[in-house]
Subunit: 407 residues, 2 copies
């Protein structure tokens, strides 16, 4: 008995790392206990909509959690919302999402799985498609699902409430999303469903439907939303504040180095597997001045590159970064961009061609601050015309660097 309880505590600790909300701790421990006692793995569900976005380290938070479950012997069901993608769920967004076609969905699923296998071994998990059961539902089945919920319950969901209050349309079809997500849990008899904290409403619907179906209710395990590089918005491709799983080691490392010292601790906890005790030590070191934050951030960069490429490439990326940005040594491989001979306005080069700045006004500010360099020459003239005659290194600020190749 003692061993079982120890094992429950051990698994509980590993699995709840970085978890913000758990419904409920007691039920989770009880499920772990039964699983260990009866040698019966828990069914862990993560549902995703194949909506075509590139995976980034924000998505990875849950995928890595799945991996932990898998490593502990549980049964991971990676649920692809092949059917629900047709609806689109507006959680956290302010507008009704367009329905996807079957072709778009098939293409997106392929793209997702290609990226998921960077983290999970697809051969060791079960990939299931909710189209397999949802396509079989009739209108009558649907009505039975609908009859289990009231309008008042649905409009409690924050984003629905906000949009209704603002007079923005909420399509009735969107009410179906949380219900079908819940029904998926019934269909696969999930023991645990993973999700982001903003998914709480939807995750709880699974508990409702399982209860009504006479099943044991799933535990809802919610991880926080990973904040983007800007330290403000949720990490997302559309905001450009993300680290993609398929980015190069140098890009990943450089992006890690661009985050604030405070945000770094959040990434340490959510985006790496470093022991929490170790992270606490690092933090203490920075606080009492025995560690330099820049060094701790570099370690974070190495860790993240190591996860998606290799530790060796992580170390190389650190060297490259140090060479270019600290030692100003440009005898390293730099990203290159080819141009034909000619000339171009400095602002156009920065904004339009290289996309180093998001706007003309940001580019003007960088020029005025003396942050723009052609080789080692500062350019401070806003109307400067860059002559494209021979190769040169072009920099904007501390992190943006490119070798311009003139052909």
């Amino acid at each position: 008995m003692v061993d079982i309880e120890k094992e429950v505590e051990r698994q509980f600790k590993i699995l709840t790392r970085g978890v913000e909300d758990l419904i409920s701790e007691e039920e989770f421990k009880s499920k772990l206990r039964n699983s260990i006692k009866n040698n019966k793995p828990l069914v862990v569900k993560l549902g995703v909509d194949p909506t075509g976005s590139d995976l980034h380290i924000g998505h990875a938070v849950q995928l890595r959690k799945l991996k932990k479950f898998q490593e502990l012997g549980h049964r991971v069901k990676f649920l692809i919302g092949s059917f629900t993608a047709k609806i689109g769920d507006p959680t956290g967004k302010s507008e009704t999402r367009k329905m996807l076609t079957s072709e778009e969905i098939a293409k997106n699923i392929k793209g997702w799985l290609d990226q998921v296998q960077i983290i999970l071994d697809l051969d060791k998990i079960e990939v299931v498609y909710n189209g397999d059961w949802l396509e079989k539902l009739t209108l009558e089945d649907t009505l039975k699902l609908l009859s289990q919920f009231t309008v008042a319950q649905m409009i409690q969901r924050e984003d629905f409430a906000k949009r209704l209050e603002a007079g923005k349309p909420v399509s009735l079809v969107e009410f179906m999303y949380p219900i079908l997500q819940g029904y998926d849990s019934v269909a696969i008899e999930a023991d645990i469903e993973l999700g982001a904290t903003e998914q709480k409403f939807n995750l709880l619907r699974g508990r409702d439907l399982q209860k009504n179906a006479g099943q044991e209710q799933q535990v809802c395990m919610m991880t926080p939303i990973l904040v983007g590089l800007d330290g403000v918005e949720k990490m997302s491709k559309s905001l450009g504040n993300y680290i993609g799983l398929r980015e190069t080691p140098n890009d990943m490392f450089g992006k890690v180095m661009s985050i604030s010292d405070e945000l770094m601790w959040n990434y340490y906890e959510l985006a790496t597997d470093i022991e929490l005790e170790e992270i606490a030590k690092l933090r203490k070191g920075v606080e009492n001045g025995t560690l330099h934050p820049m060094d701790v951030k570099k370690r974070l960069g190495v860790e993240i590159v190591a996860m998606y490429h290799s530790r060796e490439e992580g170390e190389k990326a650190r060297e490259w970064f140090e060479n270019v940005f600290s030692k100003k040594n440009l005898n390293v491989d730099l990203p290159e961009k080819e141009f034909s001979k000619g000339e171009i306005k400095i602002i156009d080069l920065i904004v339009k061609e290289l996309e180093f700045c998001k706007s003309t006004s940001e580019a003007r500010r960088m020029i005025k601050q003396g942050a723009v360099k052609i080789d080692e020459d500062q350019i401070t003239d806003l109307n400067y015309i860059v002559k494209l005659e021979k190769d040169f290194v072009f920099r904007v600020g501390k992190k943006k660097i490119v070798k311009i190749i003139v052909k």
Copy 2:
């Protein structure tokens, strides 16, 4: 051309009699015009839920309207909500209705049709069941329907809004009712849908869905709710303020005689086929004193009995009523009720056995007023014990009479 316009006007006049709301007059005339020009009958839809109630002259308002369409050569589709009955629509009610089983529905449908044929020749109309197409809908089809409506639109429906405001539950399944009713119109390509005014929201959803499906939108023809005998509430079986289509001539006639003089005009218009000009004349006669309201009401009674039995039986019912209540001649057939020898408290006889009064307090009031008679003897003692030894005529008020047979 002149003849077509005349025919349009003729049909329009007949068909819009007693109609309270028409969406729209212009579209209706245009549909009639095309129908007459191309000799193509209009498809007229009346949907009913087989919820098991007895039909009364309130239901008959629309059934009789269907008959008019039929007489003018249009194609009547009497739509039985064999599928939607499973949902239940709370229009005009304050609570979620229970879902019916298939067995209850089949039994109710039979009961309804038995009564409907009192008015309509079932061989000459098409009886269709929405289960025939709704049972085939998949979840995906359902989502396509849902995607055409927003939450804000749905909660505009008065009864939904009221219940939500009062914190009473509105099941999501109820939102499906108006949508499926609308889809029925698409399925049968209805030109016109009949309904009560309180059905307006649902009828309009048919127009929405037909428009989105590329069909010509149906005309919504709404008749007022028939007020019950009490002159206050909607006519309904549960309130006991109704005239059932299967009641005896004497009961029908007696109930007509019990309504107020003012309500009589409403019944003349909605519950009979007497020309509106004729009704106007009668009204004028009563107003200027050339006609006695009692006589006009008796004519209404004869007309209503004539519609559901025969004119002869209508006249007989009038005679019976005059004999019993005006001439106090009891040498006529009276309703009879058998009792075993014994004795019974007067209040129990009135309330429990004969149901002449709804409550003990009403019975006490009638006794005090001297309105209770055994043969010709007034009973004014509230505690009177009726001796059941030989037959007698028992009366409460002017309209309740029975012959007590003692065996």
